[in-house]
Symmetry: C2
Subunit: 390 residues, 2 copies
């Protein structure tokens, strides 16, 4: 661990703070509630790459006019069990919330529903939307494309986004809190984890990254520099080359890219960069991301309680399988997150120094009353932080 | 390479041979056509773990009464965009063909369709059914559970099947022959590949397998022995532990298990073993596998030609990305298989000595006229081969 001093804030206060920030950015009330909810879900479950630490990213993008705070949603297609929406460069969260709810409503009617979204932006944790479906008795599946990060097998160039393929379903297996919940990228890891390791002065795991020389570097500081200059890329799940199945991760990332972009005329691959270089100037552009949302209504196939019990039996059997020597527990997806949730309801959420500086800047620039939230700040406001990388 | 002498057979002759064998097992004409088609697709595309080398497996299972040659299909649910079928322990191929065609028909009507199958058996290459959808202007997705092989993360016990999650879609990217085609297990590798390496006296790649000591062994002979005795298991995509994302592969395998088993009351995990031990006797039992099939009609979302062009652009960009030093080509899914197809149309299919011995046994026992097929056998019939492992 490094010497960073964390501030604690209760979940309720943090949610209110996030809501106020979104309102301060000019996001309408209902949309700001959804945006805060999505961040809150990540904060609760300890998915800290996508919680309060991302709030400033939305602020930076809205402030520089890269995306609009108001989200005008148009329905481009709506036919039977499917629909296709356009977010017109607004916030990714409200359009995604609407899209998944439409998919769920269609699933309740037809058994399965699918909705795609074009011209959108970062939508927070993908898992939020799959959980929406799970809480309404459905299997929820969704994904999005994103900034180019993953190199295809035998390439060293960042092309595909980290492209999460995210799934949730209801289960009676208690350690999950009622929902199996797999929320992860189709790369081995993501930039946020490498940044975290760099702050702790820890090396990366060999294989997370491939650089332009074809090596798998572990120096996290160097990796972060090289990634910015396109001299390093993330590897797909399965790693570099084909020996450990890297082409499978590459294929799943590509599938998510196609489902997100090719059914709703969204940007894809390197068009999702969010900026262009003019001379020596970085000119920000809309991301125009795409997402897809699928809901499968369980009751159309099987009694819901039977399904929960069957999936519970499957998860119990996995959890009780023979342990690897030295290991003490077999997890199922969503279990760690549920454990964190129970803990954070009691202890609140830790805010890193970097996150606090971002929050303090938003407080200052949007004239919020920070005394409202009971934060024991461990740093003092030192002025604007660099937002170019967001 | 080892010193094995391969026989060559033309694709047409091989398909006829396979059809005749399926007929000889007592499979009705239409179903035998489908069974032969599925094998043929694997033979054409060089997916040799699932081509003619699997024919004897179906023969062994039908002959010992583990599954029935006639496939009575009942529709348990049929509502809107979904249906649920039961194969009553018949052949996996005809029921899966019917299920995917139903999903496609529903997709043409509602935009998306999904059909599950319970009480089924090995259905051949998963990719066949996704390709059916792709050929009809849909994105095809399907999967199945299977004999327990994969150990969950932090376990060493085979629990999950190799559980393919298989996808195809149409594209104008010429090197694929018109279809992006990702047909693979959610484990890093599969038993068939380890058997192949053992025949060539090659070591396994470190990480493919975990044994009960928690090691990643590479001695292929020993691995095969240990796998039979449940002392070794396949690792999920991402490998052992969590460092390289093994929990993601475990989660995707688990998702396929749930989609296959929990919506159609199929067997799951270790119930899919296909036998039980009574005293020192192996008593064969039905597998009662489950499958799922999803079709997404592209025209509901986007003009088909536009979609093919967009996916073509995505694949072209990936194929033209910066090469890893030492690599000379970036593949996309389905490209290698299409190349093999073009080659095999000219050269036919190689039959290993082991496969020939199986074919000769079926010729003998089902009284087929092998002179009909123009095979330059490189071995002579030596009587029954061991079928206990199938």
């Amino acid at each position: 661990m490094n010497n960073e001093k964390y501030a604690q804030i209760s979940l309720e206060d943090l949610r209110q703070f996030e809501y106020d920030c979104f309102r301060g950015m000019g996001i309408p009330e209902d949309d700001a509630q959804i945006c805060a909810d999505v961040l809150h879900e990540a904060d609760r479950r300890g998915i800290d790459s996508h919680g309060v630490g991302r709030l400033f990213m939305y602020y930076a993008r809205v402030r520089r006019g890269q995306q609009t705070p108001e989200t005008r949603i148009t329905i481009e297609r709506d036919s039977g069990a499917i629909a296709r929406l356009n977010a017109h460069n607004g916030m990714g969260q409200p359009v995604s919330h609407k899209a998944m709810q439409m998919a769920i409503d269609k699933a309740k009617k037809y058994g399965i529903g699918m909705v795609t979204v074009g011209e959108s932006n970062h939508y927070g944790i993908a898992g939020y939307y799959s959980l929406m479906a799970s809480k309404q008795g459905c299997i929820g599946i969704n994904g999005t494309n994103a900034r180019p990060s993953i190199a295809p097998t035998w390439s060293v160039e960042p092309m595909l986004g980290t492209n999460p393929l995210t799934i949730a379903f209801p289960t009676d297996y208690a350690p999950t809190g009622g929902h199996w919940f797999a929320d992860h990228a189709t790369s081995i890891t993501q930039r946020g984890k490498i940044e975290w390791y760099a702050r702790l002065h820890k090396p990366a795991v060999k294989g997370w990254v491939i650089n332009s020389k074809g090596e798998n570097p572990i120096d996290t500081e160097q990796i972060l520099k090289d990634m910015l200059e396109k001299k390093a890329a993330l590897t797909p799940l399965g790693g570099s080359g084909e020996d450990l199945g890297g082409y499978k991760g590459y294929n799943y990332a590509l599938f998510v890219e196609v489902m997100s972009a090719a059914l709703s005329s969204a940007n894809f691959l390197q068009k999702c960069l969010g900026f262009r270089i003019e001379g020596d100037k970085k000119v920000f552009e809309p991301y125009r991301l795409g997402h897809f949302f699928i809901a499968i209504d369980i009751e159309h196939f099987e009694d819901l309680e039977t399904f929960k019990h069957t999936t519970g039996d499957i998860l119990r059997a996995c959890a009780n399988a023979k342990l690897q020597p030295g290991a003490d527990h077999i997890f199922v997806a969503g279990e760690k997150e549920y454990k964190t949730e129970i803990e954070r309801i009691k202890t609140g959420v830790p805010l890193s120094e970097a996150t606090q500086l971002q929050l303090l800047q938003m407080v200052d620039e949007m004239h919020l009353d920070s005394s409202k939230y009971n934060i024991d700040w461990t740093v003092e406001y030192r002025g604007s932080v660099d937002s170019q990388g967001w």
